[in-house]
């Protein structure tokens, strides 16, 4: 089969791109291994809600129109929203179609999907940034008696054995699951590495309102000093809850969760944690306050100080000086280790040499390097800091669709 463009993945990014291609009358198909929003259906725990408020969850030609603009969408509603959106934009999705290989031809690409071969002049990778859990090698040294889980296999605390749980990683995923698991009566120890602390709300507004209003989310990838670092920053310690509560480390400590430093090694069944926890927390506090300073300066410059509650600062992160440096995993105190250590994309089926030495796709704002006609979408800080979030796909897909359109015109 011959088509002009193939989009791989029918999540928010792939569907946004489909809409952009349709707008430009570019013939295309969207290949989806499962159903629309497959990862949200099959690889996310049911209690998950988006970190971003509903008003911000907008896609090209589709703004949130529900009755809870300040709420945070549960994963089931994300699935429903994307399913409706696919219909709204008449996305030509081929479901249950797994891509096994994408190869570059002298002109265009060959896509092997199920048992079919497709040919296209352009390919857009929109399979997401969270296809696989990034689990450190030290997991191999965890004793066999311990149950190990990743956020992709976790559903709810009921699937865990009784006993203590070591949650490794204190970003959005780690802090959410630590809280949920601890509430189930399984005492949680949380290994905390470098993290991003943010309050859920500040001066009466959601933190994402501030991130957008101050222009931070709009910062372009080619204007960021250290792009590699920006693209690898951990997700903020935020949770979407109906009560819009702040879930920073102080809140988790108050809940009874025990903090330890970054997990460095497991030797002879003993987990060893970094002694740098105090500095890790100090760095996160300083960084949060720098952003709040920026937010306050912006509010003053924008003449909003009369409208908003006055500025204030949050208590520094309390670090227990007695936080243990070791935890014996063979005593039975800990029965589960949950690796909330981040995610990585899976482009293993991409049979084109476009990766750097660390395995990352080389691209310039989504335009894959040295592979004309190949694009990637839905990755952190792809074109702006907003790219990390659902609404970022709006401007990203527009820019890349323009690029794709002119690429096709040049070749014609």
């Amino acid at each position: 089969m011959q088509t002009t463009a193939v989009v791989i993945g029918a999540g928010h990014a792939g569907l946004a791109m489909s809409r952009r291609l349709t707008e430009r009358s570019i013939d295309h198909v969207v290949l989806e291994r499962g159903e629309v929003a497959n990862s949200w259906r099959t690889q996310r725990w049911p209690s998950l809600r988006l970190l971003t408020p509903n008003w911000q969850t907008r896609l090209p030609g589709h703004d949130y129109a529900g009755d809870d603009p300040d709420g945070y969408m549960p994963v089931a509603e994300v699935v429903a929203t994307l399913t409706r959106y696919a219909r709204l934009v008449c996305a030509p999705v081929r479901t249950a179609t797994t891509v096994h290989a994408v190869r570059a031809l002298s002109r265009g690409f060959e896509i092997q999907a199920n048992d079919d071969l497709l040919h296209a002049r352009a390919v857009v990778l929109a399979t997401g940034a969270c296809s696989q859990p990034a689990i450190p090698g030290i997991a191999d040294a965890v004793p066999e008696s311990i149950t190990m889980l990743t956020p992709l296999t976790y559903r709810d605390p009921g699937q865990l054995p009784e006993g203590g749980v070591l949650v490794v990683g204190a970003s959005a995923t780690g802090i959410q699951l630590a809280g949920e698991i601890h509430r189930s009566g399984r005492p949680v120890t949380l290994a905390v590495g470098e993290h991003v602390r943010l309050p859920r709300t500040y001066r009466g507004r959601d933190i994402f309102w501030w991130l957008e209003a101050t222009g931070l989310l709009a910062e372009r990838y080619d204007q960021i000093d250290d792009l590699t670092r920006a693209r690898h920053l951990p997700s903020p310690q935020l949770t979407g809850t109906p009560e819009a509560i702040t879930t920073d480390l102080n809140a988790l400590t108050a809940q009874g969760i025990r903090m330890v430093g970054r997990l460095g090694r497991v030797a002879d069944g003993v987990a060893q944690f970094s002694g740098s926890l105090a500095n890790t927390c100090a760095l996160a506090d300083l960084k949060m306050n720098r952003f709040l300073n920026r937010a306050d300066e912006w509010a003053t410059a924008s003449g909003l100080d009369d409208e908003l509650p006055p500025p204030h600062r949050f208590a520094p992160t309390h670090v227990d000086p007695r936080a243990p440096l070791e935890l014996d995993l063979t005593t039975g105190e800990i029965t589960t280790v949950l690796w909330a250590t981040g995610f990585r994309p899976d482009h293993s089926w991409l049979d084109i040499p476009v990766r750097d030495r660390t395995g990352h796709l080389r691209h310039d704002g989504g335009v894959v390097t040295r592979a004309p006609g190949l694009y990637v979408l839905g990755m952190p800080v792809l074109r702006t800091r907003a790219s990390t979030y659902i609404h970022g796909a709006g401007t990203d897909s527009e820019a890349l669709a323009d690029h794709l359109h002119s690429f096709l015109s040049r070749r014609r």
């Binding site: 959005a172 943010l198 910062e219 250290d226 997700s235 460095g264 300083l286 720098r290 979030y389």
Partner: protein, 199 residues
């Protein structure tokens, strides 16, 4: 789900050229090295070494002369010598600092170098930097008298006094960042594989 986040607010903007701040750190060279070594990662592999000769009792002398890096053998300007011993209250001759004090020297030297470098990068002129470092240790551990007491430090504290053109918050950020980028801080706070064998 979001794997990255947007909060990476910059601190004091970098000013590399026409920078009136001078802490004696060649930031341009460091930034250049970072770029060059990212492009040629094999050159970034360094091996540091020291050689030790036992003298008598607990006294030894170590020398530091060469290391490997940037893809080749490197030499210090001169060979540095370090006498290591235990103090007289340990029934030794005190011919030099104790090994644990060398660790403290290494840590505080590394953090201080970091403070100067980060200050230069952030355009903070330093007038003076002093630091006091202490490591608390219960020696019943190394004496083998109490199996519940570890050999190493229970805790290490470093107190910096910095005179500079910067707010207290900027100085807090300075020492936080110097810890974050410190090799010895990492070595002291994280487990490291150590292999000791017979030649």
């Amino acid at each position: 789900m979001n794997v990255s986040d947007p909060i990476e607010t910059k601190e004091t903007p970098m000013t590399i050229t026409d920078n009136p701040v001078d802490n004696g750190v060649n930031v341009q060279a460091l930034l250049g090295a970072r770029e060059a070594l990212s492009a040629a990662p094999e050159a970034a592999e360094f091996t540091w070494r020291a050689n030790c000769t036992w003298r008598n009792g607990t006294h030894s002398r170590s020398t530091v002369a060469d290391f490997t890096g940037l893809g080749t053998e490197q030499r210090h300007r001169t060979t540095y010598e370090f006498d290591v011993d235990h103090p007289e209250c340990f029934a030794s001759e005190d011919n030099g600092a104790t090994p644990v004090e060398f660790v403290l020297v290494g840590l505080v030297g590394c953090l201080t170098a970091g403070v100067a470098s980060v200050a230069q990068l952030r355009g903070i002129q330093l007038r003076s930097v002093t630091a006091a470092i202490e490591g608390q240790m219960n020696v019943l551990g190394i004496l083998g008298a109490d199996p519940d007491i570890r050999n190493g430090f229970d805790a290490v504290t470093v107190r910096f006094a910095i005179d500079a053109d910067a707010s207290r918050e900027d100085l807090q950020a300075l020492i936080a960042q110097s810890q974050k980028r410190s090799a010895v801080f990492d070595i002291v706070t994280n487990p490291t594989k150590v292999l000791v064998e017979l030649a």
